[in-house]
C-alpha cells in the first residue's frame, strides 16, 4: 500500500446497552478509493458509517482521517471535519420544509456561509450534474419520485465538493434501471471530485459496479477485505453465501430481531 490511508479504523467497538454492535473493526481506505461494505441487515454497517461521520461516538478504538483521530475532536474541529465529508442517506433525508435547491445548497449556505444567490447557482449546476433540470429546484422534495429524491440527495452530498463521500444503500428501493442510473451518477461524480468513498449496500449489482475494494462485515467484524475483482473467488464461505444470496451457509439469519 502506498502512503497514509485517507480513512482508517483501529479496533472500533460500540455497544448500545447490552447489544455489542461493533466488535473491533479494523479497516483502511486509501485516498481516491471506493470501498463498498457489504453485509446483512443489523450487522453494524450503518453504525460503522455513523461512527466515521461522527454521528455516533465509538466506545473504544480510533478513527483516523488523514492520520488525525476524529473521535476526540472538539465541536469546532468536528464541524471543520464535517465540511470535508458528504453523505447520501438511505431515504434521501431531504428537508421537507425546504425547496429542492435549498436542500442542495444547504451545506453551502449554512455550513460555509455562502450568499444565497451564489449557492443557488451552484445548487442548480449540481442538479444538472445528476441529470435534473433547473426547474426541479423550485419543487418541494415531497413532489419528487424516489429516484429523483435519491438524485437530489446525491447532488446535496456533492454540493460542497467533499473529499470523502458516504453512500448508505444508494440503490435500495429503486427499480433496477434507476439503480443503475444512480450507480453511474455515483461513479461519474466521484471521479470528477476525486473523492474517497465508502458505500454500504446489500445490492451486489451496485457493489460490483462502484467498488474498487469490498469489505464484508458480519456480527460487528470485518470478515473479508479485498479487491472487488476477487470477490467471486474470495475463498471465504461467508462472502460466497452473501454474494450468491443463499439461505444455507455459515450465516444464520436470526428470525427474531436482535
Amino acid at each position: 500500500m502506498t502512503g497514509q490511508p485517507k480513512i482508517s479504523l483501529r479496533g472500533v467497538h460500540k455497544h448500545f446497552g447490552p447489544k455489542h454492535v461493533l466488535r473491533g473493526i479494523d479497516l483502511d481506505v486509501q485516498r481516491g478509493q471506493s470501498l463498498v461494505v457489504i453485509g446483512g441487515s443489523g450487522t453494524g454497517k450503518s453504525v460503522m458509517l455513523k461512527c466515521i461521520l461522527g454521528l455516533i461516538r465509538p466506545d473504544t478504538g480510533e478513527i483516523l482521517i488523514d492520520g488525525q483521530d476524529v473521535t476526540r475532536l472538539n465541536n469546532r474541529d468536528r464541524e471543520a471535519t464535517m465540511n470535508r465529508m458528504g453523505m447520501l442517506f438511505q431515504g434521501g433525508a431531504l428537508f421537507d420544509s425546504l425547496k429542492v435547491w435549498e436542500n442542495v445548497a444547504f451545506g453551502l449556505i449554512q455550513g460555509k456561509s455562502m450568499a444565497r444567490d451564489k449557492a443557488r447557482e451552484i445548487a442548480i449546476a449540481k442538479l444538472s450534474q445528476v441529470g435534473l433540470p433547473a426547474d426541479v429546484g423550485e419543487l418541494s422534495p415531497a413532489e419528487l419520485s424516489g429516484g429523483m429524491q435519491k438524485r437530489v440527495g446525491l447532488a446535496r452530498a456533492i454540493a460542497t465538493d467533499p473529499e470523502i463521500i458516504f453512500f448508505d444503500e444508494p440503490t435500495t428501493g429503486l427499480d433496477p434501471i434507476m439503480a443503475d442510473v444512480i450507480n453511474d451518477l455515483i461513479l461519474k461524480c466521484v471521479k470528477e471530485l476525486g473523492a474517497t468513498t465508502i458505500s454500504i449496500t446489500h445490492d451486489m449489482a451496485s457493489a460490483r459496479k462502484i467498488a474498487d475494494r469490498v469489505a464484508m462485515i458480519h456480527a460487528g467484524q470485518i470478515l473479508w477485505h479485498g479487491l472487488a475483482s476477487d470477490i467471486d473467488h474470495s475463498g471465504n464461505e461467508y462472502v460466497d453465501q452473501f454474494i450468491n444470496g443463499r439461505a444455507e451457509g455459515p450465516i444464520q439469519m436470526q428470525v427474531r430481531k436482535l
Binding site: K50, L53, G54, L55, E79, M82, N83, M85, G86, M87, F89, Q90, G91, A93, L94, F95, D96, S97, F106, G107, Q110, G111, K112, R156, T160
Partner: protein, 259 residues
C-alpha cells in the same frame, strides 16, 4: 412467573428518573444553543409568525368568551352578598393575573406543541437530523433554539392581546346584559388595575411559551418508530406541556407574586 411488585416499582422509578435526566440534559443543551451563535434568523422569524400571528384567532376567541363568562359568574356570585359592583375589577384582575396567561398558554400548547412534535418527529425518524449534522449544522441550533426563543417571546405578546380582548368580553356582557354604566365600568377597570398584575401575567406567559416549545421539541426529538411514534409524540407533547403550564403557574405565583 411470579409477579414481582418490587421489581415493577423499581422499573417504573428507573424509567421516571431516566426521563427526568433526558429532559434535563435536553433543556440544558437547548438553552446553551439559544444564547451562543450562530443564530438562524430566517427560521426564528418563521417560527414567530407561526406561534404568534397564526395563534391570534384562537387566542382572541377564547379570551373573549372567558372574559364574558367571568363577568356573568361574578355577577351571579357577587349578588349573594351585594357585591355586583365588583364585576369589572374582578374581571380585569382575573384575566390579567391568571386566565389570560393560563388559558392562552393552554390553547397555544394545543396548537403549537403538537405541531412542533409533528414537524420534528418525522425529521428524526427519516434521518434528517443526522443529515443536518453532516451538513455542518447543529440540529439544536437549527431546530430547537429558534422555536424556544419564538415561544418565550411570542406568548407574552399573545397574552397581552388576550388581556385586552378578555377585558373587552367582560365589558360587553357587563354593559349590554348586566346593565352596568359604560363609564363606571371602564373607570373601575382602570382604577383597580396595577402594572404588577399585567407584568406578572406576561412573565408567566414567557415561561409558558418556553415550556410549550420545549415540550414540542423534546417529544419530537425523542419520537421513535414511524407514524405511530410521531402520533404518540404529538399527544405527549400537548399533555405534558399543559401539565407543566399548570404546575409552573402555581409555582411561579407562589414564589414571586403571592404577597
Amino acid at each position: 412467573m411470579r409477579f414481582n411488585v418490587l421489581a415493577m416499582i423499581g422499573s417504573v422509578i428507573l424509567q421516571f428518573l431516566g426521563a427526568v435526566g433526558r429532559l434535563t440534559l435536553f433543556t440544558g443543551q437547548a438553552l446553551r444553543h439559544c444564547v451562543t451563535p450562530k443564530f438562524y434568523f430566517r427560521i426564528l422569524g418563521r417560527q414567530m409568525l407561526q406561534i404568534g400571528y397564526f395563534s391570534l384567532p384562537v387566542i382572541g376567541l377564547t379570551a373573549f368568551f372567558t372574559g364574558a363568562v367571568l363577568a356573568l359568574q361574578i355577577y351571579i356570585g357577587g349578588a349573594r352578598f351585594n357585591a355586583e359592583s365588583l364585576v369589572s375589577s374582578i374581571v380585569v384582575l382575573g384575566i390579567t393575573r391568571e386566565l389570560g396567561p393560563v388559558i392562552g398558554g393552554l390553547m397555544v400548547a394545543g396548537r403549537v406543541s403538537a405541531a412542533m412534535a409533528a414537524e420534528i418527529g418525522p425529521v428524526r425518524v427519516t434521518e434528517q437530523i443526522d443529515a443536518l449534522t453532516t451538513l455542518s449544522t447543529n440540529p439544536f441550533k437549527y431546530l430547537v433554539a429558534p422555536r424556544l426563543i419564538a415561544g418565550a417571546t411570542m406568548l407574552p405578546l399573545l397574552v397581552l392581546v388576550a388581556d385586552v380582548i378578555g377585558v373587552f368580553g367582560g365589558f360587553v356582557v357587563g354593559t349590554q346584559k348586566l346593565g352596568f354604566n359604560v363609564g363606571t365600568y371602564l373607570q373601575n377597570t382602570v382604577d383597580f388595575l396595577h402594572a404588577d398584575d399585567v407584568v406578572s401575567g406576561l412573565v408567566k406567559a414567557s415561561i409558558f411559551g418556553f415550556l410549550i416549545s420545549l415540550m414540542g421539541c423534546y417529544h419530537g426529538f425523542m419520537s421513535r418508530g414511524g407514524a405511530q411514534g410521531v402520533g404518540r409524540a404529538t399527544t405527549n407533547a400537548v399533555v405534558s406541556a399543559s401539565i407543566m403550564i399548570l404546575c409552573a403557574n402555581y409555582v411561579i405565583t407562589e414564589l414571586f407574586f403571592a404577597q
